[in-house]
């Protein structure tokens, strides 16, 4: 069916249900997750922007929705959010490009 896809935005509401079939591990995950996002040496606001950037590099639509909303709730502006997305994109493309050195090394070794 054309209007169906693997991702349904409504499924995000059910994230908590992952504990249903593995209560212990699921609860441990949520406990860890919630601790990570508490105010710490980094502010919760900074962590939210990091999460948004990672959500994009991981290309997770649920996380993008969740941390866009979280950012708005914290008063983060759309310009700040887009900068965070660029940080993620820059690291991601840098990570691809830096492997170019490996390619260069290999070329030099095989055909230098």
């Amino acid at each position: 069916m054309a209007d169906q896809s693997y991702y349904d935005p409504k499924d995000l509401r059910k994230f908590g249900k992952i504990t249903d079939w593995q209560e212990d591990l699921g609860s441990k995950f949520f406990e860890y997750y919630n601790s990570v996002f508490q105010e710490g040496a980094l502010t919760a606001r900074e962590k939210s922007l990091i999460a948004l950037a990672v959500a994009h590099t991981e290309r997770c639509p649920y996380c993008i929705d969740a941390y866009t909303k979280d950012g708005l709730q914290r008063g983060i502006t759309k310009e700040e959010m887009m900068e965070a997305v660029h940080v993620g994109a820059a690291i991601q493309s840098g990570a691809s490009l830096v492997h170019g050195v490996q390619m260069m090394n290999k070329v030099n070794k095989l055909d230098g």
Binding site: T43, R45, Q73, G75, T77
Partner: protein, 351 residues
Amino acid sequence: MKTQSLKKRDSELAQAKRQLEILSNGIFQDGELPTFAEKIAENGHFPLRPRRLEILQINVGYMCNQVCEHCHVDAGPDRKEIMTRETMQQCLDVIKRTGAHTLDLTGGAPEMNPDFRWFVEEAAKAGISDFIVRSNLTIIRANKKYYDLPEFFKKYNIHVVSSMPHWTRGKTDKQRGDGVFDASIEALKMLNAVGYGMPDSPLKLDLVYNPSGAFLPGDQAGLQAHFKKALLEDFGIQFHDLFAITNLPISRFLDYLIASDNYEDYMYALVEAYNPAAVQNVMCTNTLSVSWDGWLYDCDFNQMLGLGVASPVKHISEYQEDLLQDRKIVISQHCYGCTAGAGSSCQGAVV
């Protein structure tokens, strides 16, 4: 940005009955989400009852110089309902009799009521310890006749509580109209100039933040820190506290939620963020709301939904505290807005 109230636009949502139908049906009727009554019953809070009356909130009229996108009052320049001096006198009689320590004047833009200053002068004599006026700020810059409002507020030691949706121009103007940010900044400077909002000043100036879209307010302390830093660095403006309040799904905000296809998600978010600890402190438990025509409500939101108090005493002219205290608070699904996260009241978070 719409420039007319729902009422003027003849929108079906101008009818309180239609809003209540939407809030009662759909996801709540089919059991997908629990109703507010079911939810508070889980913690033994049903029926919700008032504690001691502490705050009398008086809505002196729906007329306003702005037409904010999310206004729960559906206020605007085209709204003509304003409180008469006669009703004000009935309120004054009650103010003198109650033990309420806070008087909270709201609107619309309360300053647009022609008897506003008279009422403030008379009410100030009653010895209230906290006398709040909810000012939208731009009214102070709207017309020369309002330029002296900061001095007037100072004379009566009014506690000024003002809306400020964001520390950036774009977000503020999107929600409240073009030019609102700059006019609000000018008004805040005028208030600071007479001593309002300065760190040790007794002239209290608090700001109210409400989200500019279909999301809940984040942590109040974090938002306050950001507002303080930005307004001080960018404009040299100071204020005391920031109250973060949740937009309740009624009136123009409900209209916006439905039009932007956000209604269901927003209700889910409210229900998911339900915090039982906030229930004991929702503002209807210590507040009574009076409409421009003298009718009594549990809160300003119930007033807009036409949900009068469930008491034999229904009008300010027949006020009897003991009978009113005995009532059950009238609730519906919009009440989830008061209990989400850290809770939300006219004074911001409640837990």
